[in-house]
């Protein structure tokens, strides 16, 4: 279910915002799983995502 939840949230920025604001409870995952999901997604929105591609492009 975590897998489906992550996929859904990646598709829906509105739902993601509601989850990050703790304004919605996700069905089908436990409280611990939701806490972990919120933790991960919050820390992601706070940091810059950087795709390092130097090695890849020179492969």
């Amino acid at each position: 279910m975590i897998k489906k939840m992550v996929a859904q949230l990646k598709q829906s920025p509105e739902l993601l915002n509601l989850v990050l604001q703790n304004r919605v409870s996700l069905v089908g995952i436990s409280a611990v799983e939701q806490r972990a999901l919120v933790d991960v997604l919050k820390s992601e929105t706070l940091s810059e995502k950087k795709v390092s591609n130097n090695y890849w492009l020179s492969y």
């Binding site: 975590i2 992550v6 949230l9 611990v32 795709v51 890849w56 492009l57």
Partner: protein, 304 residues
């Protein structure tokens, strides 16, 4: 003398004592020296647990030596099985020789435990059993991995628990046993969770680093890649075709930028991070219940 030097000294002492055949000794030292360039996390955990529970510095060094030689042996076996790591020295000599060195190192690990027990046969026996139990669990996970048998998230997580979880728990427990002569349930619990979290973070790094060691290019099956390969769409179709052998590495590399972005954005990283975070909560829960000075707990947290 710093701890790393002491650890190398203990391993060197054991190699000199037991490896008389010159080429065996030479290869063992070369493999050990190579391994010493890595993080040494298993040795550090074994040594930390020994010290944490009252073991002497000398015992802690032997605990670390036991852990590091055991893990090196397992790494050699793993690379000989997977044939996916040309960079290591044991892939650059005939497999029969590397295998023999690995067998020797595994046996040396037991001797390190005996020396760490300082004559207490009960502690030696317990620490040896705990290391051995780790290997007995890990071989099951390894077999699942080698046969590509897992198909679900639960099966993948079980395999990780059997491999990485069991091995990390084993070195923590062995270090603890050398100091106390006892099995510690709490150490077993957080050690297991620590190992799983560490493997998941390693697997996340495996899809994030876009160099020769990218797990996708090697068609590895990890939790993040399980997510990727179940995604809908064209890019995932291309990756599935690559895994099935219908596309070559060069075909994939032609689309490297877009595939790299797809993997970064699809959610596979967050998915694995959530599972790692759940394990980290488990570790914190166990630590909270332990009567251990806070500075020791902080040292364990460094491995999260």
């Amino acid at each position: 003398m710093d701890r790393i030097t002491e650890l190398s000294g203990k391993i060197e002492e054991l190699v000199e004592s037991y490896f008389h055949e010159p080429e065996l000794r030479r290869l063992a030292k070369e493999f050990i020296a190579y391994k010493a360039t890595e993080s040494g996390v298993f040795g550090k955990l074994a040594s930390l647990h020994c010290e944490m529970f009252g073991g002497s510095a000398r015992q802690a060094e032997y605990a670390a030596a036991a852990a590091e030689t055991m893990i090196l042996a397992l790494d050699i076996y793993d690379d000989l099985q997977d044939l996916d790591n040309d960079a290591v020295p044991w892939s650059q000599v005939p497999a029969a020789l590397s295998l023999n060195v690995a067998i020797a190192l595994q046996a040396l690990s037991i001797e390190a435990v005996c020396r760490g027990a300082e004559g207490d046969d009960g502690r030696a026996m317990l620490a040896m059993r705990l290391l051995n139990h780790g290997i007995l669990k890990a071989v099951n996970g390894q077999h699942t991995d080698l046969r590509n048998e897992w198909a679900t998230e639960e099966e993948c997580l079980q395999m990780i628990a059997d491999k990485s979880g069991a091995l990390v728990a084993a070195v923590c427990l062995a270090g603890t046993a050398l100091a106390t002569g006892k099995y510690n349930e709490s150490v077993a619990a957080y050690g297991q969770a620590l190992g799983v979290a560490a493997q998941l973070r390693n697997d996340i790094a495996g899809v994030e680093r876009w160099d020769k060691r990218n797990d996708l290019l090697y068609r590895k099956r990890t939790l993040p890649l399980f997510y990727v390969l179940e995604e809908p769409g064209e890019k995932a179709d291309m990756l599935r075709a690559y895994y099935d052998g219908a596309l070559s590495r060069d075909d994939v590399l032609l689309h490297k930028q877009e595939l790299m972005e797809f993997v970064q954005e699809c959610g596979c990283i967050e998915y694995a991070q959530v599972h790692a975070r759940i394990k980290e909560y488990e570790i914190e829960k166990v630590l909270a219940q332990m009567e251990l000075e806070e500075h020791w707990k902080e040292q364990i947290r460094q491995y999260m």
